[in-house]
């Protein structure tokens, strides 16, 4: 009997070790291999002399399942599209040779614990050269700490909360505009159209990102002379916001701004219709620019505007691998069969930031590339890539897209990129 | 000579909502005796024990144990003071062995503060033997049959070193032979100097072991006296067996 027990326990132990050796997640490319540390070191060092195989391995934990599965997929698509294109062009130039790019992606299940664990695996087990970000501020917050611990650079594209960057980290960079800037474009645009607008109501999803968006919007609105008549938050994953809509309606605001994500944005719109809330402008941080928004709301999506980090219609010109937003859109459409959402574009832009920094550093050395990233100032297909001391890209403006009555999404702001006129005002529900 | 009263209730009353389960019961239990508590189903016998032992909060009235007012005391304090009971529906600790079950009584009961778990486990051997379960000492309680579960109840209560013991239908569900040996056990417990209150439906047992009987009906005292007196009391018979039966019973007696 005790022999059986012994065997059982031993088996348990072996199973545990074998499993963990394989890692906590499933790599989508390039199966993990144990490599002697020595070999790894030469790989990381700047390539000297030609002939040798050279490659850069980028690692990321991305949400492929769980609540951010959809967004995570866009992120992964963005990363993969870049890798495919750059490898077609021979790779990233490092010094006098070109290095092939490899990507190692794990599924973090939309879970911050898992995300941190997998990034630790990417660094210590898989020994990737550089890190890319996950999706969402929470996961990014957790993983940047790991990157900092091991002094491996991480350029992330999908965590906009400024609190990620308030910790004095040296190795984290974000290519996207920080959260407080999200709704500025909408406020600018609305005032540009109708300077007589007076009042704003802001509803907020109680989450790190949305709170920053809302605070930024409130500060900016007040700076522009608007009165913020309502400012309150609802619980994350709320299923009913009727009470807030009712409260807002009693204030009769000119502009209603929502800081949150796709799901709650849809909820706010549905219940606004139910309860007859019709301001002159409906604007949201995240949601209206996504095809899901139109799918869920149908005609009720008309006139609603949303902030966008990037749109396919923007007029940027660049000498990067994609050149223009339009070319990126073509390539993306060819590969994935849909218009690229901005998450894909910013994710690809993170790799472009790396590429330019590596080129500038002429090396794959982690610290040299970090310094090059800190000094980066580059105009990409995605817009300006330049980081402030904290690692945030505060130099890129936000665009605004509107759901048009013809069922399409158009860029309506900034003016120089607008393809259509901003439809104003929002037609009240009872006049449709 | 005035006998020493070990437990006394004064107007003990228990209401459930508007329903009076026990109404103004005055009972005295004398030291060393075996008192029977009988009554029809639903007469409030178990409720009466529950309010004395603190299992249920008492609505009104007083309870004295050896002159000390224990009204409204929580059950565990009552238990530590020296009152033990068994349950009509057996309540063994199924996840424990017989020894552990009994040791719990020795650990926490009257005088339990003096014993460590180890000492308690050693102490209970004698009790287990006393109730005739020595061969089952290390069996789990969930492997026992009903008669032994009833004995286990007894052993658990005895291990608490009680001065007063309430036995709530320890003989229900047993066959004649088992009842005989249970009666013997009750007598032997009494011989150890423990005062006993027996709640029982088995009249044979009541007559066989008790010196005095107290009858409850609808929560109130109906009669008390020696077993013989009480069992021949027409009111008691009527309460027990219903009016029709009583009429028939007396008709038959007359005819005879």
């Amino acid at each position: 009997m005790s022999k059986r027990l012994l065997i059982l326990l031993a088996l348990l132990l072996i199973a545990a070790m074998a499993l963990a050796a394989c890692g906590g997640g499933k790599a989508t490319q390039a199966p993990a291999q144990e490599k002697p540390a020595a070999e790894q070191k030469t790989e990381q060092a700047a390539p000297s002399g030609g002939g040798e195989e050279c490659k850069v391995v980028f690692g990321a934990a991305v949400s492929l399942t769980g609540k951010y599965a959809k967004e995570g997929e866009y992120v992964k698509n963005g990363y993969e599209l870049y890798v495919e294109e750059i490898n077609k062009a021979g790779g990233i130039p490092v010094g006098d040779k070109k290095c092939k790019v490899e990507l190692k992606i794990y599924d973090d299940e939309s879970n911050a614990d898992r995300s941190a664990q997998l990034v630790e695996k990417l660094i210590t087990e898989d020994k990737v050269t550089f890190l890319l970000g996950p999706y969402g501020s929470g996961n990014t917050f957790a993983t940047t700490a790991i990157a900092e611990k091991y002094k491996v650079p991480m350029v992330e594209a999908n965590g906009a909360a400024t609190k990620i960057f308030n910790r004095g980290f040296k190795y984290s960079f974000a290519v996207l505009s920080p959260a407080p800037n999200y709704l500025r474009g909408i406020i600018d645009m609305a005032l540009d159209k109708d300077p007589n607008l007076k009042t704003v109501a802001i509803v907020i999803e109680n989450g790190a990102f949305a709170l920053e968006v809302a605070q930024g919007a409130k500060d900016y609105a007040e700076e522009k002379g608007l009165e913020v008549v309502y400012f309150d938050k609802y619980a994350k994953a709320a299923k009913d916001v009727s009470s807030l809509i009712t409260a807002m309606k009693s204030k009769n605001p000119d502009i209603v701004l929502g800081a949150g994500h796709l799901q709650d944005t849809i909820l706010v719109m549905k219940q606004s219709k139910d309860l007859g809330l019709s301001p002159k402008v409906f604007g949201f941080s995240v949601g209206p620019t996504s095809p899901e928004f139109r799918k869920a709301l149908g005609k009720d999506a008309d006139y609603v505007v949303g902030a966008a980090q990037w749109t396919p219609e923007l007029k940027y010109q660049s000498d990067d691998i994609f050149g223009t937003p339009q070319h990126f859109t073509e390539l993306y459409k060819a590969k994935y069969g849909e218009i690229p959402p901005y998450q894909a574009a910013e994710s690809a832009a993170a790799l472009i930031a790396y590429q330019k920094a590596i080129e500038a550093a002429g090396s794959l050395d982690k610290d040299k590339v970090r310094d090059a990233l800190a000094a980066l100032d580059y105009d990409s297909f995605y817009g300006k890539l330049k980081f402030n001391e904290q690692g945030m890209n505060v130099y890129k403006p936000m665009a605004v897209m509107q759901n048009y009555t013809d069922g399409n999404l158009y860029t309506v702001w900034p003016k120089e990129a607008a393809v259509k006129e901003f439809l104003y005002p929002f037609v009240p529900w009872d006049q449709r | 000579m005035e006998r020493e009263v070990i437990l006394e209730t004064q107007n003990a009353t228990k209401h459930f909502g508007g329903l009076a389960a026990v109404e103004k019961v005055n009972m005295k239990i004398y030291k060393g005796e075996i008192l029977g508590l009988i009554g029809p189903n639903g007469a409030g016998k178990t409720t009466f024990v529950n309010i004395i032992t603190g299992m249920l909060p008492i609505t009104a009235g007083k309870v004295y144990f050896k002159g000390q007012d224990i009204t409204g005391w929580p059950a565990y304090k009552v238990g530590r003071l020296g009152i033990a009971r068994t349950f009509q529906i057996v309540k063994p600790f199924r996840g424990m062995t017989v020894r552990e079950n009994v040791a719990v009584g020795a650990m926490f009961g009257h005088g339990g503060h003096k014993r460590s778990p180890r000492e308690a486990l050693e102490h209970v051997d004698e009790i287990i033997e006393f109730v005739g379960m020595a061969h089952l000492r290390d069996k789990h309680a969930d492997q026992l049959t009903l008669p032994y579960l009833k004995r286990l109840e007894l052993a658990k209560a005895l291990a608490m070193d009680p001065e007063l013991l309430f036995l709530d239908e320890v003989m229900a569900g047993l066959n004649t032979k088992e009842i005989e040996s249970a009666m013997e056990l009750v007598r032997r417990i009494n011989e150890r100097g423990i005062t006993i209150l027996v709640i029982e439906h088995v009249m044979k047992a009541i007559v066989g072991v008790t010196q005095r009987v107290f009858v409850l009906n609808f929560g109130q005292e109906l009669a008390q006296g020696t077993p013989h007196e009480v069992l021949n009391n027409p009111e008691v018979i009527q309460a027990y067996l219903g009016e029709k039966f009583v009429e028939r019973f007396f008709r038959q007696q007359k005819a005879a």
């Binding site: 963990a20 492929l64 299940e109 664990q117 609190k163 | 926490f108 051997d125």
Partner: protein, 346 residues
């Protein structure tokens, strides 16, 4: 007692633990080996950061499961809100470090004590509730606490959370937190062992088996239950504090998520509730299961489904956990698996 009697009745002194029935030596030996392995693990050549991270997670889970076992396994109260203590421990530690500027260890103590005090305060009223009502009251309190922490911006930092300083020197943080978790789990096992040999252990099991009888036999059940609850809060609170410092941030949605409660219960159930080593081993089993699923299932989304199916199977066939089979108390057979259904079906 005579010598003769003593001889014929050898007494097992720690019999409340199912695992230890009759085979203490072998199992203790095996366990000691495993513990030794864990103790020297960070010194082994292949102990990378990822490995330490993974084992730290498992050991923290084990510690929480051991704590849950006090109230859920031994005392038999289906506590479904132990994550509240984890969260309070995390916030207590974090806030003490940030707002009071205390060092980690005093802060950890504050967090753990806060969790215990909270357990006592809510335990006094809600431990009077039975069965479902108790279970749901704990869920409700945990959920409400999470929401309050999430909204009380001025105190907890609200949804933005609080950020803690890094452990210094940063190169050793992996080892530091690993050993913290290791010590906590081992401490939990010792604590379990200690309690089981005290009257407290007997009162817990007695309450689980029959609270009325326990009460009547002189056990102060309220005290015993509150102690069980408070000690389980202590374990979860310490785990929460370590977790907070380890992750360097505290966010209500992370530290109050109901998944943690579920994980500790599953770990305890898989290993065997009401046994000393069950929750500890269960934490490893749970983690291995999860990892296995992630690995061998091509469709990522389905692994939660499979986990659910596994729980269902365990509940139907072996709800007492795998410990019975591991310890040889029961033979693994079709019959043994069907026994549960035979007992509980209608």
């Amino acid at each position: 007692m005579s010598d003769k009697e003593k001889k014929k009745a050898p007494i097992r002194y720690s019999p409340l633990d199912g695992l230890f029935k009759g085979r203490q030596g072998v199992l203790l030996g095996l366990f000691a080996l495993f513990a030794l392995f864990l103790a020297i693990f960070p010194l082994l050549p292949f102990a990378s950061g990822f490995w330490l991270n993974t084992l730290t997670l498992i050991l923290l889970l084990a510690a929480m499961a051991i704590g849950w076992n006090f109230i859920g396994g031994y005392t038999g109260y289906a506590a479904f809100g132990n994550v509240a203590f984890f969260g309070i421990g995390a916030y207590g530690t974090g806030l003490s470090m940030i707002r009071l500027g205390l060092g980690f260890f005093p802060s950890l103590m504050i967090g753990a004590v806060a969790a215990m005090v909270f357990a006592i305060l809510i335990g006094l009223p809600i431990l009077r509730l039975k069965g479902h009502y108790f279970a749901i009251a704990t869920v409700a309190i945990a959920t409400a606490m999470g929401e309050i922490a999430d909204s009380w911006t001025s105190f907890t930092g609200g949804a933005a959370g609080i950020t803690l300083p890094f452990f210094s020197p940063i190169e050793w943080s992996g080892q530091f937190f690993y050993y913290m978790a290791f010590l906590l789990a081992m401490g939990g096992l010792l604590l379990t062992w200690f309690i089981l040999n005290r009257k407290m252990g007997y009162s817990w099991v007695a309450i689980r088996e029959d609270e009325d009888a326990a009460n009547m036999m002189g056990i102060n059940t309220t005290w015993a239950k509150v102690m069980a609850f408070a000690l389980s809060a202590l374990m979860a609170g310490l785990a929460g504090g370590i977790y907070a410092y380890w992750k360097t941030f505290v966010l209500a949605e992370e530290v109050f998520k109901i998944e943690y409660t579920l994980q500790m219960i599953l770990a305890a159930v898989l290993g065997g509730t009401g046994t000393i080593f069950g929750p500890f081993i269960g934490a490893f089993i749970y983690y291995i299961l999860i990892t296995l699923l992630v690995f061998f299932l091509p469709v990522g989304q389905l692994h939660a489904t499979i986990l659910g199916v596994i729980i269902i199977l365990v509940m139907v066939f072996t709800p007492k956990g795998l410990m019975d089979f591991l310890s040889g108390k029961k033979k693994l057979s079709v019959n043994a698996l069907l026994e549960n259904i035979r007992t509980y079906r209608v």
